[in-house]
Homo-oligomer: 456 residues x 2
Amino acid sequence: MSEQVLQYLQEHQQRLLDKLFEFLAIPSVSTDSAHKEDIHKAADFITTYLQDIGFKNIEKQETGGHPLVYAEYNGAGAEAPTVLFYGHYDVQPADPLELWDSEPFKPEIRDGRIFARGSSDDKGQVFMHLAVFEAYMKTEGKLPLNVKVCIEGEEEIGSENLYKVLHDKKEQFQADFAVISDSGMVEKNQPTILYGLKGFTGIEITVNGPDHDLHSGMYGGAVRNPIMALNHILASMKNEEEVVTVDGFYDGVEPLSDEERELIDQVKGEDYVKATSIPETVSEKGYTAKEHTMARPTFEINGMYGGYQGEGTKTIIPSSATAKITCRLVPGQDPERVQQLLEKHVKRVAPAGVTVEVIKEKLSAKAYKVDPDHALIKKAAESYTKAFGKETVYVRMGGSIPVVEWMEAIYQMPIVLLGFGTPDDRLHSPNESFPLDSFEKGMETLAYYWNQVKDK
Amino acid sequence: MSEQVLQYLQEHQQRLLDKLFEFLAIPSVSTDSAHKEDIHKAADFITTYLQDIGFKNIEKQETGGHPLVYAEYNGAGAEAPTVLFYGHYDVQPADPLELWDSEPFKPEIRDGRIFARGSSDDKGQVFMHLAVFEAYMKTEGKLPLNVKVCIEGEEEIGSENLYKVLHDKKEQFQADFAVISDSGMVEKNQPTILYGLKGFTGIEITVNGPDHDLHSGMYGGAVRNPIMALNHILASMKNEEEVVTVDGFYDGVEPLSDEERELIDQVKGEDYVKATSIPETVSEKGYTAKEHTMARPTFEINGMYGGYQGEGTKTIIPSSATAKITCRLVPGQDPERVQQLLEKHVKRVAPAGVTVEVIKEKLSAKAYKVDPDHALIKKAAESYTKAFGKETVYVRMGGSIPVVEWMEAIYQMPIVLLGFGTPDDRLHSPNESFPLDSFEKGMETLAYYWNQVKDK
């Protein structure tokens, strides 16, 4: 690789940052239908950029939901390998807005970080790839290998339509290997190879009681309170030792080997208490916080609501209560089976006097693990180390990227997770940010990597 | 009493209804500061009406919160007794608006009922008193007895400032007895004397975890979920047999005598299942639904919220969760002590990894019981029976009217509860309504009653 590629990235850094800010300024929130137009704006931003770079066969594919941006570069010739690059241009909702120190969709740099919704997850990392492709084209006139681009707009809502696309258009998306930059490093400037991801599934529980809110003085004592009923149901699903008490939940889970426990122990990781201001960490009985987050399944209530939430007091028995639940799964757990177990448990413990409804999350994913010794992984580690000047560590993480499981299932190709986020990025939260260091050294890493894997 | 009073009420029924609708159209929601102006509009409506009737010394008293309307009529002379008439012009919030079949503040008549927020609780019943006073003045030129009017604007927020007023202005408000119409009958057109009311208290619990919403993949397994923590706390406060499991909660509660159980059993009451569409009633182990609602304490979660409530899925660990709780108390229970017991319980069971905050409801009230054989009560029963053509039943009810306890404590005067609401009125709920029968026969009852109690 010519030095000019890195030089180009340095010389154009300000312009590239300005361009990234344009991208981040688009509130492409996929879960909220009010942002449909912004979703298209974000997709158009990418197609235009790909055109400028010199990609061919650019398509804004209709998926039934939000569009998927596809493009090809074949200029490296038949001898060169083809990589499928995946990312997503959609973002999580920004609420609660009042907790942001700056506007979520007015990017700004403070303390060496880019603050904006999507700066880390995943617009920032998608943009880095495009910038590196631009640098290669503008300096060497070509890319080191052939590239297929797949950037979707539904990752934050479970990639609702992606599976069908990947499955139906196998020919079009087939490649020698895949690269995904939608993950992070264990700490800032610590090169990290992710060799394991958790799976994901969820359910929504609604307890229905009276057909309208009732006066607690007139009906209290005759009517089951739906919120209390839901409290009893949920409290029976995970105990205070953070052990999930749903029958069969842990069936098939690989026991954590001493070797892996050591590997996890060696990872410095982040200071959970410092990063979240909690009084102390809590984790599954018999496991450390790091072990639980990285390698054990989790059960979380993401949201719950029922009855009066306004100012003051309202003495009612509410007509219903709802809880949104998601689980992170590990190898050996089948998402559909876990959903069935959760539903079975809920129906079994539901008390008299109310009716209970369970809605299953449509999109689920199995957990993923790759061989850390694969050549494509090793080369990624070398590129990281070269760019960040530090040894690369290997970890499993608690996050879930459904597309990883699908690509493996459909294409049986190696998948390399090149992530540059950091534990302090506040993904999915107010004040999401991404370090300038990750932005610069990350692009450098990618520049090295393409050069290292350009030969079959 | 001359027949003309009743005749006047009949002849002017349409005009009186139109005037009531003006009153109901004012959204005087006391718990929401956005309605401050409407609160004043409602108070002004009453002062104007009192002037037109011929009341003297009319004051819109500043209370520190919403104004209280005071007025006097002394035309009956020193020989006649003086009654203190209490009511409230404020209403509960109307949300959820989408569940109303007609606008909450655009009154309309359907199926023989007046539909509007406040039609039953309590604007409709307050208006009936004013209309009957008007009828007496316009026909007999005077009222049968002297009257002091006390109509407040904070009943739905616990009558925050009323106690101080009643306490500090004892001279001004002192009377021979009090009449309150802010309650109901056990069924439509069934004359009902309320001889017992429940007390009231409450707390709000907030569980605080991380200082911001967290990505469930990155932190799940290290951080206690505040919603789950609150689930465990609440589930430990009342069991599935509807027994409150907070130590000492039932201390001092008078056991329910066989006589009273019989009395309760004889009350037809309403069909709870039919009125609320629940699968079946549930009540405290060992007590019927009627016994529990009328004569046993209750514990209700009025509202609960935490985390993501929007469309779709958001895979977070929320930073906090909150529950609003109120209890209805019976004779023998001290509200402040119950609050302390609840707080002590919450603090005791709160799990590690979160901090828990308990806010105590500022206004509480003890339960109330009056002697059903008191002359003023007997005469009320006779008036009811005369107007509705049906024997009057005697009941205790689950509702709480703090002012009743305060009047008794401060003035030691008999309090007569003349209520005309019905179980189907949907107080505090969407589609609140009040039967035209109650409106007409209720005014007739009041007309008879004033005539019956005009002599000391």
